[in-house]
């Protein structure tokens, strides 16, 4: 794993009377243990990758409590695992990245929420929305609505998050419905503190197993005819039970304010942002006391009709602060007020934008617009709005002062084994012409950015091959599908490979075999070779493909650009129909470096031979055309001012962070670039033979009139 939480997880042992300090995801884990879960699991993906890492690092602590941990192969298997709570009083929690993970899990979730649960079930959703997000921008809310699962969106401070997790399990059990808890990126990584409680051992768990299954009960199956009864149960029993619980336990908060002819209904997760905006406008203090009343929805679904009516009654206007589209809450509030014949005007999308993240400037503008439209009694709305707009008026001018700045999206790391594959694809296309490239989710999707700018579609994790199924038959050239080994095991094996074999499809699949789910922080996958814990799952991709009947299969060392280019050309030109798979084999360099650096340091202290390799560019030979950079994009290959007093264009240079992966040399050769690249090697703790040979060479070269002698001194 990229990040180790070995030290931090010790905080999970805290008990009554202790204060927990730490990050949001760690606090969630602590809350799970305080809630007495019997099992946990999930699939990695930002922003909850680290939650899974924490769970893995906390294995020992969880084992003491009898909690079972499952690192699932995908979100569907994580969701299906929740089936344990349908029949048994077991509390369970799983986590994944939403919206994409929820999409993958949807089938199991529907079948879970129809019969409902006995043990409390919580799904922790990393809501990947807004700044820093890496997936399509959709709301998880739709799943809550359609499947009758409750959606919690706590205020983003640790005490509130922890309480919501604990109460969420009770809510799930009280209403027999699964509960989802959404955490935005910043909430996952927010630090803070809360008063810890003792961890709770579950009634049943690995430490105290259930004797056997219950009596056969058809009602627990999601199968006709009981599905019709279950549909009614959802609305007639579970929904009212949930509303009652939410009211009784005051899961939602009301902040009173003196300007009470207006009000704001806000999703819990946005509360701090709204309070800060109000504070900057002079309408709240830093401790959260507001002049405008607020209804804070820590539970965004279901809405409790009595609470909505109670809050809106007597107000001329309310503003619903609801991020994302569609405006489910705003619609629901309108319907509720209509039903109760309450005439409060509802604002939401309008003063606030329909789409996009509600950042500080968006909220200031939205609140200003709302106040000017609603005109609360006793407030000079225009002056407050003017103040709000004045706080952000400088932004467009500041942006204009610099003009468009070069973007800096994430990129392949220095020495990444995936970069050479894209260099090879570029070289292949130079000769054979462009071809359709269906790309996938994972680090390799960075090839869609400059300098590669490769890829025509992204259809989801492990979906690249399947998404080319109808392209190939309609196009002159074979399409290429790119998939990581993470995506391969997550979904691609069945959705892509099995389907293509079944349909005798024709095309090229490149599997990036780097050994980990790397984009999410190097979690182990079934084919991981270097397990951090020593245990290696050892499932082999090549064997798996062969057993599925793939005949054309090549494994190529990913740094061999020339071999890769040749193999690609062969795959593209081959008269043989059928799926052609190239496994690009090269370990994730981040993981490799972490291992190799430690090994080398050990060797050096033991006095053993260690070579360090790095690449370089002769700045006198480089003419500053940067072809090499356009074929590589390596962070260590950059530019510097030309040392030539007569040249103005910057020249290429390799900086100290070079790990000597060899791509520079490979590309210089394969692309016939220029003779400025070199590889330099230094040998530490060399043998006497090596040292003698080196000295001899230096002497002779010095004698020939060269540089010898002086460096060996």
């Amino acid at each position: 794993m990229e990040r180790s939480f070995k030290k931090e997880v010790q905080a999970l042992r805290l008990g009554d009377g202790d204060t927990f300090h730490g990050e949001g995801i760690l606090a969630v884990t602590k809350a799970l243990l305080q809630s007495g879960v019997s099992y946990v699991g999930g699939y990695q993906g930002a922003p909850v990758s680290h939650l899974l890492d924490v769970l893995v690092d906390a294995r020992d602590i969880m084992a003491e409590l009898g909690v079972h941990l499952e690192t699932c192969a995908n979100e569907a298997s994580a969701a299906a695992m929740l089936g344990a709570s349908i029949n048994y009083p077991l509390r369970g929690a799983v986590t994944w990245k939403s919206i994409v993970g929820t999409n993958v899990a949807a089938d199991a979730l529907s079948n879970l929420s129809s019969p409902g649960v006995i043990g409390g079930v919580m799904i922790i959703l990393g809501e990947d929305y807004g700044e820093g997000a890496s997936v399509i921008q959709e709301r998880s809310y739709a799943y809550a609505l359609k499947s009758s699962m409750w959606l919690l969106d706590p205020r983003p401070d640790l005490p509130s998050i922890v309480r919501t997790v604990e109460k969420g399990f009770e809510l799930s059990e009280a209403s027999h419905a699964p509960v989802m808890l959404e955490l935005r990126i910043r909430a996952c990584h927010a630090t803070g503190s809360f008063a810890a409680k003792d961890n709770r051992k579950a009634e049943f768990s690995g430490l105290n197993r259930i004797a056997g299954p219950p009596r056969f009960n058809y009602a627990r199956l999601s199968h006709p005819p009981v599905i019709f009864t279950q549909e009614k149960l959802k609305v007639e029993q579970r929904l009212p039970a949930a509303c009652a619980f939410i009211r009784e336990h005051k899961l939602n908060e009301t902040i009173a304010g003196e300007l009470d002819d207006v009000g704001i209904i806000v999703m819990g997760g946005l509360t701090n942002s709204v309070l800060r905006a109000l504070e900057r406008m002079g309408l709240a203090d830093v401790f959260g006391a507001s002049r405008i009343p607020l209804k804070v929805l820590n539970v965004v679904y279901p809405l409790v009709p009595e609470e909505i009516r109670g809050f809106c009654a007597g107000k001329r206007a309310v503003l619903v602060v609801e991020e994302g589209h569609p405006d489910y809450i705003e619609q629901a509030v309108n319907v509720e007020l209509r039903r109760a014949d309450i005439q409060t005007k509802v604002f939401g999308k309008g003063p606030l934008p329909q789409a996009g993240e509600y950042t500080s400037d968006v909220l200031l503008e939205g609140l200003a617009a709302f106040l000017q439209a609603a005109r609360p009694a006793g407030l000079d709305a225009d002056s407050v709005a003017g103040k709000a707009r004045g706080l952000i008026a400088h932004k467009p001018k500041a942006a204009a002062a610099l003009g468009p700045l070069p973007p800096r999206p994430p990129a392949f790391c220095t020495g990444c084994p995936e970069r050479p594959v894209f260099a090879a694809i570029k070289l292949m296309q130079r000769e054979l012409g462009p071809t359709h490239i269906s790309t996938d989710i994972g680090c390799h999707s960075f090839a869609t950015f400059a300098p590669f700018s490769l890829g025509n579609s992204i259809l989801g994790y492990g979906m690249s091959l399947a998404s080319a199924a109808a392209v190939g038959p309609n196009m002159d050239r074979r399409p290429i599908a790119i998939m990581g080994d993470g995506g391969f095991w997550h979904n691609g094996l069945i959705t892509g490979v099995a389907s293509t074999m079944f349909n005798k499809g024709d095309g090229v699949l490149i599997v990036m075999q780097n050994g980990y789910a790397s984009a999410t922080g190097q979690q182990a996958i079934p084919s991981t070779v270097h397990g951090r814990t020593g245990a290696v799952p050892g499932v082999d991709i090549e064997q798996t493909l062969r057993s599925m009947g793939v005949k054309w299969l090549r494994t190529v060392h990913s740094y061999s650009v020339a071999v890769m280019t040749k193999t690609l050309k062969e795959a593209m030109r081959s008269a043989e129909r059928g799926l052609k798979v190239i496994i690009a084999d090269g370990e994730c360099q981040l993981a490799r470096q972490r291992r190799v650096r430690a090994e080398d340091a050990d060797k050096l202290t033991r006095g053993e031979r260690v070579t360090r390799m790095r690449y370089g560019v002769d700045d006198e030979i480089c003419t500053g055309d940067h072809s090499c950079i356009r074929l590589s994009g390596c962070p260590s290959l950059t530019v510097k001012p030309s040392p030539d007093p007569l040249r103005s264009d910057p020249v290429a240079t390799v900086i100290d962070s070079c790990v000597g992966c060899g791509l520079c040399g490979e590309v210089a050769h394969a692309a016939v670039l220029c003779p400025s690249f070199y590889r330099a090697e230094i040998v530490r703790n060399a043998s006497w033979r090596e040292r003698a040979l080196f000295r001899l060479r230096q002497k002779v070269i010095g004698w020939l009139g060269g540089y010898g002698g002086e460096m060996a001194a």
Binding site: F287, D361, C443, P643
Partner: protein, 510 residues
């Protein structure tokens, strides 16, 4: 309602620079001091070098003094609501300004002058670097206080990572309710690489205290060796002062490249340009530019020059000392060469080279047959191979490449001299088009082709009086920029179409 507000700190960094660790140090120090504190981030998971930010709020009243009250801390940085904006890199500092986070009423901007170029800046075929002076100017204009220091260099000098230097600079701002000692304690408590981190912290703190803003990295130009003064003298009495240093550099370079006679040829070639310069009252502007480009073109990159450079003692010293940091360990340098048919023909006389190239082209061998070589230049045989090639210098003037180069140079000079008679700007623009011709193999061929296209479609018509000179100068400049946009030539094609479209419209209008 109290007027005390949270102190807000925005950190802009690149993935892999330790921004998370830096944030952790500050949060730990604030917690230890008893202040309510919160940090958030949008870490770009595992990938390196993407832009990312970290955000911290510290409430400067101790929790113990607040009773049961707790401040509501925001998770997102507010536009116009930032006390300290720190960036590990100059462009990222510019981004915090562009996003509205740096304001003159309160923001203390701390930024490293070091640049880590973005891919878009690096892949340009010419110079795609963002204007550094503009970044510095805008940051200074928008901040209340400003500390611009080369943090990357300070980190290197102190043997630390940039995040420790940033911490020191933040401590030195005096805007946090935390002392240097409290921050040092947080670094110690963290327990990782304590000594180097503390060294970095102190370097950053000292730089913040000194308030001297060191000059931006001086460009490390390497001049050609000094040569017999005779030719240099000729330069000094025959040319305007502005052009002299360039022409002297040109003379020295060409003596090292080929010999005295070749340098004389250089000066002879500059004579008509000197006249044209004088006729246009350019006071050496034209001459300087032509002298610069001409020296570069006359010292074209052939196998001899590459071999010379590869066995230069200065080169080996640089690699051994600066890159490998050799003390007395054995080291080796391996060079990657892949000569093809064209490279072999460079030194052959034209009567041999021409038929070979003709046949190769017809058979499609050019660009296909290459000999990939990896030469250990630190071995005796490797060194000898380069030495032999370097010794072929005397044969150079008899070779095919030499003839071709001189022909192209003469024709380019002819165009400049003629153009300068019409308009100085036109002459300058044509001279500058020499930038297109560079590199090896495909790159070189593409550059020549681009120059030919511009010469054919713009320079020719301009000299024939079909395009008015001012417009032609503009058009040539745009076309040159466009030709350096993309290697596929799409930019140039589009640009020329636009220029010719405009001309057609104008003619139609007239």
């Amino acid at each position: 309602m109290t007027s005390t507000r949270p102190i807000t700190l925005l950190i802009a960094a690149l993935g892999g620079e330790g921004g998370g660790v830096l944030t952790g140090w500050i949060v730990a120090a604030a917690e230890q001091a008893g202040f309510p504190v919160q940090s958030t981030s949008i870490p770009g998971v595992a990938q390196r070098t993407g832009a990312t930010t970290y955000y911290i709020e510290i409430f400067p009243v101790k929790t113990a003094e607040l009773g049961s009250k707790r401040p509501v801390l925001a998770l997102t940085p507010g536009v116009g609501d930032i006390d300290i904006a720190v960036a590990s890199e100059l462009l990222e500092a510019g981004r915090t300004v562009a996003n509205g986070f740096v304001t003159p009423d309160r923001t203390h901007a701390i930024a490293s002058l070091s640049r880590f170029y973005a891919v878009d800046e690096k892949i340009a075929m010419g110079d795609g670097r963002f204007d550094q002076d503009r970044l510095i100017k805008v940051i200074k204009e928008h901040a209340r206080d400003c500390l611009l220091i080369d943090m990357a260099r300070l980190a290197e000098q102190s043997g630390s990572i940039i995040n420790a230097v940033m911490l020191g600079a933040i401590a030195g701002s005096g805007r946090l309710p935390l002392t240097l000692e409290q921050l040092e304690a947080a670094v110690r408590a963290d327990g990782k690489s304590v000594d180097s981190n503390l060294a970095g912290l102190r370097a950053g703190f000292a730089a913040a205290g000194a308030k001297t803003q060191p000059a931006i990295t001086v460009e490390n130009k390497r001049n050609a060796p000094v040569t017999p003064a005779l030719l240099e003298h000729e330069v000094s009495y025959s040319m305007p002062a502005l052009a002299q240093p360039t022409a002297i550099e040109g003379v020295r370079r060409l003596i090292a490249y080929q010999g005295l006679a070749y340098a004389k040829l250089y000066l002879d070639r500059l004579r008509p340009i000197t006249d044209a310069d004088e006729a246009a009252s350019a006071h050496g502007r034209l001459l300087k530019e032509v002298a610069r480009h001409l020296a570069v073109r006359m010292s074209y990159e052939d196998v001899v020059r590459v071999a010379q450079a590869k066995i230069s003692p200065a080169r080996m010293r640089r690699i051994a000392r600066e890159e490998l940091r050799v003390t007395n360990e054995p080291f080796s340098v391996h060079d990657f060469l892949k000569p093809g048919i064209e490279e072999f023909c460079q030194l052959l006389p034209s009567f041999l080279a021409r038929p070979i190239l003709r046949v190769s082209e017809r058979k499609g061998w050019l660009g296909r047959f290459h000999i990939g070589m990896e030469i250990n230049s630190t071995s005796i045989s490797g060194y000898l191979r380069f030495l032999m090639l370097a010794k072929l210098r005397r044969l150079r003037p008899f070779g095919h490449r030499y003839k071709q180069e001189q022909m192209q140079i003469e024709s380019w000079l002819g165009l400049i001299a003629k153009a300068a008679g019409q308009s100085l700007d036109l002459g300058l623009e044509i001279a500058e088009c020499s930038r297109l011709i560079k590199g090896y193999g495909d790159t070189h061929v593409r550059g020549l082709a681009n120059f030919a296209i511009i010469a054919d479609r713009l320079i020719g018509p301009a000299l024939a009086g079909q395009i008015p000179s001012p417009r032609a100068a503009d058009a040539i400049a745009s076309a040159r920029t466009a030709a350096l946009l993309d290697p596929e030539g799409e930019g140039l094609a589009k640009c020329l179409a636009e220029i010719e479209g405009q001309s057609a419209l104008r003619i139609a209008a007239e």
